[in-house]
Amino acid sequence: MSLEKLKETVAKVFHEVDVVIGYKQGFDPLHATPCFITMPEQVDQLIWNPLCVQNLTSYLPFLKKKVGIVVKGCDSRTIIQYMQEGLIKRDNIVIVGLPCTGIISVKKVLHEIDNQPVESITFRDGSNVVVKTVKGQKILSLSDVCPDKCSTCQYPTPLIYDHLIGEPIKSDKPPESVYEDIREFEKKPLKERLEYWEKEFDRCIRCYACRNACPMCICQDSCIAETRDPHWMSQKLSITEKFMFHMIHAVHLAGRCVECGECERVCPMGIPVNKLKKKINLEMKELFGYEPGVNLEDKPPMYTFNVEERKIEEHKL
């Protein structure tokens, strides 16, 4: 069973590092939560199932010591992107890779059981989720309640690891399905798109959970959404300022966003903030054939240039 193997490996890795970051059961059966293992007896708390939704690698740039980290396929892209941008020292990190068969979206599960507190949740034969609440039991299929990123997942097996728990899994999802939702959205007329974003961003409360959960946002403590020198934005809660903040986040992730989906997952107001970043990634792939956090030798497109750009023609008026 891969949980036992995971615990074994982590126990072994534990001696080479100062802390191992994994998942443990959270405050209720539906939520897992990151756990920082600094004592051998804490290894037993580790869990591994579709509840393990957080991208644990976002702690790495802030930890100044040797760290063991449990990593799903999509999370591993963060580590490669960190290395491309020189934000972590590879030999300070021991990566325990977990081939992943999909995780749940807490929001979608809650939607299915109309937000009742969960008494128990069990996973049967890899694709069924059995949820028991006060109002009775419901059987959901993982493909209905998984986050969008899982239904188009290209990298279920971590692209970089020191230890792999279980056998690598190949993706069975067609590559062009990844940006299906973006192409769908672009079919809307221009005015409707603007109104859509104004309506969605109207709910934003600028709590910056999306920014602080984003692994690539390492300048959280001096973000230009809050500083007064440079003075980009006011603290006024108008749609202009909210729109501007989300554009800052998207543009600063151009050619860097590994689509781990954390920004959308953590938004307490349910705003689809990941869409903007996926659109830019679509353009990065189209323009430069670049996918963030996939291979180590790549250079993020905004860090470099070609004298002759193959795909950029001069715009005529």
Partner: protein, 361 residues
């Protein structure tokens, strides 16, 4: 006239429309999967099933408001001299918040002590607060993370509410609490509620029993040694990402920031929400920051609610147990679990000596 009221569900929309004639009625509306308080209008879909994502504090303590506007006026005959004109505009409409939760209402009580029971009251909050009627709906069942009964609240707690409603089969049983509440049951479409009293009380009791208490010891005892041990905070808060979700969604968080914005010669001084979890919250011009790490900030956050506020306001805990900070935390930090440790309720996170006791973050 009947002491208690009853509003049949089919007359709900009509009732809100009449109320909206002479007051701004805020009701919890469903937008996508998010429940948020909006001014009532017929085409909005209402949602009374669960507590709103963000509490109604946005209505009385808005996330950003203009304290005053200023205008630099050039003096025609002496260009050196510029006069400054300050203007404030504090006319607020009458407001009825319909569908708040008992924990939200209790939050306003926490605000009142700070903003109003002081020799320098906050006139902005005070004017709005006095013009607001809070009609609370009692909870049928707790959401994930709720622990209101453990901090002196309850699914049908009346504190801070002007009237309290209990949803029944075909209508809402309304119990006025204050004078403002009594005015509500005199509104059109409200019938006599006494026949429904018994059923309402049963439902309230049923809801009360569903709540479990995360702390197993008495309320006030927080162990100072554990509270002041940096290692404890590093251990329990390593996963926190120091965002503002928990503070902005908290009905008892009232910290704010004051900033100026100016365009050419006009501008305004803006008060906006702030979070003690943000790095710049205590950052000084010299660059010194008394609380630079997220552990110190989180210790201050928990300390404020469970130690400092009680110290200042004879034992009142500045937490209403609504569970939002637990439900919406990106990494599921559970404040009730941490306060449980602080009260020494036996769950020891630090079993045995830590590996190297070094800073885990």
């Amino acid at each position: 006239m009947a002491q208690v009221g009853y509003l049949p569900k089919e007359k709900e929309k009509a009732f809100f429309e009449t109320l909206s004639k002479n007051a701004l009625v805020y009701v919890p509306c469903l937008e996508g999967d998010t429940v948020i308080f909006r001014p009532f209008s017929p085409e909005r879909t209402l949602c009374f099933e669960r507590s709103a994502n963000i509490p109604p504090k946005t209505i009385i303590f808005p996330q950003s408001e203009t304290l005053f506007s200023f205008d630099y006026k050039k003096n025609a005959d002496d260009p050196q001299k510029t006069a400054i004109k300050l203007e404030t505009n504090q006319e607020y409409p009458d407001v009825i918040i319909f569908g708040a939760r008992p924990c939200d209402a209790k939050g306003f009580k926490i605000f009142d002590r700070v903003f109003m029971d002081t020799d320098t009251p906050d006139t902005y909050y005070k004017d709005r607060r006095e013009k607001t009627v809070i009609v609370t709906i009692s909870c049928e069942s707790p959401s994930a993370g709720c622990f209101c009964t453990a901090v002196g609240g309850g699914p049908a707690d009346k504190e801070g509410s002007d009237a309290i409603i209990t949803e029944l089969e075909k209508g809402y049983f309304i119990e006025p609490v204050t004078e403002k509440g009594k005015a509500i049951i005199k509104e059109p479409f409200i019938e006599d509620g006494s026949p429904y009293q018994k059923e309402a009380v049963e439902r309230q009791k049923a809801a009360n029993d569903m709540l479990k208490n995360p702390f197993s010891t008495d309320l006030t005892k927080i162990s100072p040694s554990l509270f002041n041990s940096d290692e404890f905070w590093e251990q329990v808060v390593s996963k926190c990402i120091s965002c503002g979700a928990c503070t902005y969604l908290c009905p008892t968080c009232y910290c704010f920031n004051i900033t100026d914005e100016q365009a050419v010669n006009k501008g305004e001084r803006i008060r906006s929400w702030d979070a003690c979890m943000f790095f710049h919250y205590t950052l000084e011009a010299s660059g010194h920051n008394p609380r630079p790490t997220k552990f110190q900030r989180f210790k201050n956050r928990v300390g404020h609610k469970f130690v400092y506020y009680p110290e200042k306001y004879n034992g009142v805990i500045a937490c209403c147990g609504c569970g939002r900070c637990i439900r919406y935390c990106p990494v599921s930090v559970d404040i009730s679990e941490i306060v449980g440790y602080l009260r020494g309720s036996g769950i020891e996170p630090l079993k045995g000596p830590s590996k190297d006791g070094a800073n885990a973050g």
